[in-house]
């Protein structure tokens, strides 16, 4: 098992190097001069030129990329152009908020998704099935910002006007109460995917012979569904949840913006906008690492769910 993990970690390296190259190239060939952006609109050209020289922007592309890679080995991602702080620190400052939000959201998604999926599959073609699928569709179709604003209007504004206090604060981060609304907003969007995959996977499993066996030997339906069927149906669900978690870690920009959460999504958008190229590179690289790790974790979870797979991990 350890050998397997080590193998997987090593195989991540070329992927990550590829990612750095692509990001570096994109940022390098994007029009706009980082030195100008750093020194501001009014800086005299001579100063800008001096800054370009100092930042190494006049070196050939391949030299700049080489320097960047060398820095990576020392965990040195460069200095953020807008704040003067090391990029590594900037990312580590923002990562916890994103991870907490994503974890809360994926829990909401799994909770809603798995339950709705089971209900839909065990009562196929009934009102429950239709209802669960409708809600799933609704969840994925509602834009994050709209649902977010509606929740804010209800739990912050309306609640405040009616009861004289705010049930859930409309922005900020820190306490559990701050986390409720953004987690639900993000969770419902991703719950839809999990509902669908749970349903179809459950339907498939429920048709299997061993389910018929279980039923015919007189086990009650609940045991058949939750213990015999669900466990085997979970595999695609875990994959989906893992991928969704990866997406959440990278893509909650809108939600972070509305609820003023100090996460990575906002940092990325701000840094792209100000062409803070060192920070952009650092964030994309972090995303790539997280995504690879999540994938690995999903594969390892397979083994936990299905012992047959565990045997193959050598």
């Amino acid at each position: 098992m350890l050998k397997y993990i080590a193998k997987r970690l090593i195989s991540m390296v070329p992927v990550l190097v590829g990612v750095t190259f692509i990001v570096f190239a994109i940022m390098h060939f994007t029009p706009g001069d980082p030195a100008t952006l750093l020194l501001g609109e009014e800086a005299p050209p001579a100063e800008v030129e001096r800054m370009r020289e100092r930042m190494g922007l006049n070196d050939p592309f391949i030299v700049q990329y080489g320097n960047f890679l060398m820095g990576l080995f020392r965990l040195d991602l460069g200095i953020s152009l807008t704040s003067g702080r090391p990029v590594y620190n900037e990312i580590m400052n923002r990562l916890p908020a994103t991870i907490r939000l994503s974890a809360a959201a994926i829990l909401v998604a799994i909770f809603i998704g798995v339950i709705a999926g089971i209900i839909a599959s065990t009562r196929q073609y009934t009102v429950f099935d239709g209802g669960a699928m409708f809600i799933a569709l609704l969840g994925v179709s509602m834009p994050n910002f709209w649902l977010g604003l509606m929740m804010i209007l209800l739990f912050s504004v309306f609640w405040n006007n009616t009861f004289g206090y705010v049930l859930f604060p409309s922005s900020g981060f820190g306490t559990l109460r701050h986390l409720v609304m953004p987690a639900i907003v993000l969770g419902t969007a991703h719950a839809a995917f999990i509902t669908r995959i749970t349903r179809s996977s459950m339907l498939e499993v429920l048709r299997q012979d061993y389910i018929r066996t279980a039923r015919s030997k007189g086990l009650n339906e609940r045991v058949v569904i939750y213990i015999h069927a669900l466990r085997n149906a979970l595999m695609p669900v875990v994959t989906m949840a893992g991928l969704r978690f990866g997406v959440l870690l990278g893509g909650s920009v809108v939600t972070e913006q509305i609820f003023a959460i100090p996460g990575m999504g906002r940092l990325l958008v701000e840094s792209v906008r100000s062409q803070n190229y060192t920070l952009v590179q650092g964030i994309i690289l972090t995303y790539a690492i997280i995504f690879s790790l999540v994938n690995l974790a999903v594969d390892l979870l397979y083994a936990a769910i299905d012992p047959r797979i565990k045997v193959q991990y050598k």
Binding site: G32, D33, E42
Partner: protein
């Protein structure tokens, strides 16, 4: 209670899996089933009630420290004033640091760390510093700190984005007379030096603080202002504590918290629901909401920014003054302001923002006159119009502006396409002169006419230094140079006003709108005075 064999198997399976919730449809056990269902319901109710009550407990204890919470539209990039040049950072820093002098809300200059000053000759100003002023780290403020701060700002290796603000200071010849007297020479005679020293880039940092923290000074700021840093959660909030040893007397509130809330609607909602007391940047759609709210006050004030539409004077057909004049005559300014800005803008009627003291109200020569515009176009040989491009950066307001202008230009048969650039690319492109029509704004944050005009209209600043329309008029150059060195204020005013007149005749560019900004303030906040610079001060602001 009799338990069936089935039930035993059932419970074992449940125990193993731990997945079971709710009741069972096949095995109906009276009592047990109800218990489970009942307790779950009760638990849920208790939880909800708990959440509601926990939230409802009001924490207005008499002993509670006074916390003033302010919504900013972005977090500070750094708390080191020499590291940044953005307004979100400067606003916070102005509560923590001071310069030798500072701006008053009516755009005058008043003493801050310097209690007095004197021009020794036309190139040297001598400052007499306040004695007994303490930095947040307990060290005493002296002339050394002033010299150190300016040296750091101007050090090319440090690369401060604010360096151009004090570029005229002859830093190598600054002379420390004694601990509380410092002489600051400029390279050329420079009349507006005080307003530049009042700019946020010229805030004084503690020498010992910088030496102690080095590159991490931005997170460990040491200034002399009425508030000092308690805690900074980056991207979220900056918590400042009252600095009890402040020379001007301690601030009214115990804590001042700047929260970063990027979304305009979210800021307004926080203001409405009591999450913040003051919010900057109320958006147009929310103005009425704040204005009509019984617990909120709306402060609408003139900012120092002017929005304009520029031409590349070196490109056909805009090198012909008649074409520029025709366009000026064709635009309907009140429609533009109404459509794009609403209450957040006023029609711009000159070449500098109307709040800058040298503003000449009589400059703008082009009231709307379509017939005259068509005549001028015909004279210039463009009776049938032409096609052109309007370049803008990616900004919602500017996009709306371009659309209205493009529509209005059709009256002269000028067909224009709007091209949207990313900011960096936009600065590059307009700096090189690859543009025809473009739109920009200019914020003369020092409030001085030199800052408002020299970068934009002096021929030495063509291109990326600010004169992006490549305007070139020796007469204007001369007036701007005279205005820079003249120390007599009336004379200066005359130079700048004349320059504005000439620029208007030449149609250097077309002013579109002066910016207004809206601040929402809760009624419990006392003594709040908005500042045109946008850096509203909180030293004297209280909370009831």
């Amino acid at each position: 209670m009799k338990v069936s064999k089935k039930e035993i198997t059932f419970r074992r399976e449940v125990y193993i899996s731990g997945l079971l919730m709710g009741n069972d449809r096949r095995v109906k056990i009276k009592g047990g089933n109800f218990m489970r269902k009942g307790s779950l319901t009760i638990l849920t109710i208790l939880l909800i009630v708990g959440v509601i009550f926990a939230a409802g407990v009001n924490s207005t204890d008499a002993q509670e420290p006074k916390r003033l919470i302010v919504a900013n539209f972005a977090d500070a990039n750094s708390l080191d004033p020499q590291r940044v040049s953005d307004t979100a950072s400067f606003w916070i820093q102005n509560q923590m640091y001071e310069g030798l002098v500072r701006r008053t809300p009516d755009m005058g200059v008043e003493p801050a760390l310097a209690k007095d000053w004197e021009f020794i000759d036309d190139r040297t100003i001598e400052f007499y510093l306040r004695e007994g002023v303490k930095f947040h780290n307990g060290d005493e403020f002296t002339a050394e700190d002033v010299l150190f701060s300016y040296q750091r700002l101007l050090d090319p290796d440090f690369g401060s984005p604010g360096a151009s603000r004090l570029a005229m200071v002859d830093i190598d010849n600054v002379e420390i007379v004694d601990d509380y007297t410092i002489r600051i020479p400029t390279k050329e005679p420079f009349a507006a030096i005080l307003t530049y020293l009042a700019h946020s880039a010229s805030l004084i940092v503690s020498k010992s603080g910088v030496e102690e923290h080095g590159d991490a000074f931005g997170e460990n700021p040491v200034g002399t202002g009425p508030f000092k840093l308690n805690n900074w959660r980056q991207g979220d909030e900056v918590v400042l504590d009252r600095f009890d040893d402040y020379w001007g007397g301690p601030a009214e509130v115990d804590q001042l918290i700047f929260r970063a809330i990027p979304e305009g609607t979210s800021r307004t909602i926080e203001l409405e629901t009591g999450g913040v007391h003051v919010s900057r940047g109320i958006e147009r759609v929310d103005l009425d909401r704040v204005d009509n709210h019984r617990n909120l006050e709306l402060h609408l004030y003139e900012a120092l920014r002017i929005n304009y539409m520029g031409f590349n004077h070196e490109a056909e057909p805009f090198n012909d003054v008649r074409v520029r004049q025709a366009i000026a005559y064709a635009l309907d300014h009140s429609e533009i302001v109404q459509a794009v800005y609403g209450p957040l803008g006023g029609p711009a009627t000159g070449y500098i923002n109307s709040n800058i003291w040298a503003f000449n109200p009589d400059t703008y020569l082009y009231p709307r006159d379509i017939d005259k515009a068509k005549e001028l176009m015909a004279e210039a040989g463009y009776a049938d119009g032409f096609t052109t491009k309007i370049a803008i950066n990616d900004d919602a307001t500017r996009r709306a502006l371009a659309e209205v202008v493009s529509y209005q230009l059709e009256q002269l048969n000028i067909q224009s396409s709007i091209e949207v650039y990313e900011w960096g690319a936009y600065l590059d492109m307009t700096g090189r002169g690859d543009h025809e029509i473009y739109m920009l704004a200019w914020l003369a944050s020092t409030g001085d006419p030199h800052h408002a005009m020299h970068p934009l209209f002096h021929s030495s600043n063509k291109g990326s230094a600010g004169n992006r329309q490549f305007y070139d008029n020796p007469q204007v150059d001369e007036l701007l140079e005279k205005g820079m060195v003249e120390t007599d204020m009336d004379q200066r005013m005359a130079f700048y006003q004349e320059a504005q007149q000439i620029i208007s005749e030449d149609v250097g560019w077309i002013p579109l709108a002066d910016d207004r900004e809206a601040v929402g303030v809760h009624v419990s906040v006392t003594n709040f005075v908005p500042c045109p610079s946008g850096y509203h001060m909180f030293h004297k602001v209280g909370l009831e």
